[in-house]
Point group: C2
DNA sequence: TTTGGTACTTTGTCTTGCAAGGTATTAGTT
DNA sequence: AACTAATACCTTGCAAGACAAAGTACCAAA
């Protein structure tokens, strides 16, 4: 009972914090190499950053519409073709902003804790 | 033009990241000392964490309804009485969860950057 | 009694995350 | 040829939450 309630709470807490940095994580990943949606989900999961399709697909589309990403189709060794996303120059600019913003947030939290 | 667009973007980026840690910051502040809404806004602003009334009041009420906070009325030297919020035991438990969650997120980002 | 400062609250809009359900492609199996 | 399983991508509907803006209330000084 108690334990269950705690777990639900804990998940909420983590989920909320994750939201704030999701777009940042996408750009971080794509800055290293192009990837398609399913593989992004897998990688984020490995990094403890849970994302589901219904979240990621619209997010990628938003970032593409903002000019931060572009995509190309590539055949898959098995199954339907994959939509490979790549970061654009504008995306890299935004990523730098995000790096700064992230650093600021971390510093701010440290300040509040002090 | 360019500069303006960039500023808007930058603000969005920061705003989104802030959202994820807002509740955390409130609990961090209240764990140190009781405070009323207006003073919380002032302190967060000093720490570069912009919040407005329309955001904070509902948030405090939510946290109170979750049993994380309680409040008492105190007279003000000038103006209407103040609603002083104080963190509860349950709130401190939650705060510990949040400390862990925050540490995890920071680590996760580092991992993705690596 | 009006003005200014302080404080709390609510309403309406917009964005976003996510569960759930849907479509499409390919390869292997029956 | 039909079925199954695996892989991918996409959409819809709901709910939560941030915030601008407007509203209410209290107090003191002019």
């Amino acid at each position: 009972m108690r334990a269950m309630e705690k777990n639900v709470n804990t998940e909420n807490v983590r989920a909320q914090m994750r939201k704030g940095v999701l777009e940042y994580c996408i750009l971080l990943l794509l800055a290293k190499e192009d990837a398609y949606a399913s593989s992004i989900i897998t990688r984020l999961k490995e990094a403890n950053m849970i994302v589901v399709e219904g979240t990621l697909y619209p997010l990628l589309i938003r970032q593409k519409n903002q000019g931060l990403l572009q995509y190309r189709w590539e055949e898959s060794p098995q199954g339907p073709p994959r939509k490979y996303y790549a970061i654009t120059d504008k995306g890299r600019e935004q990523l730098e902003e995000m790096n700064n913003a992230w650093q600021e947030i971390v510093t701010t939290i440290e300040n509040i804790k002090n």
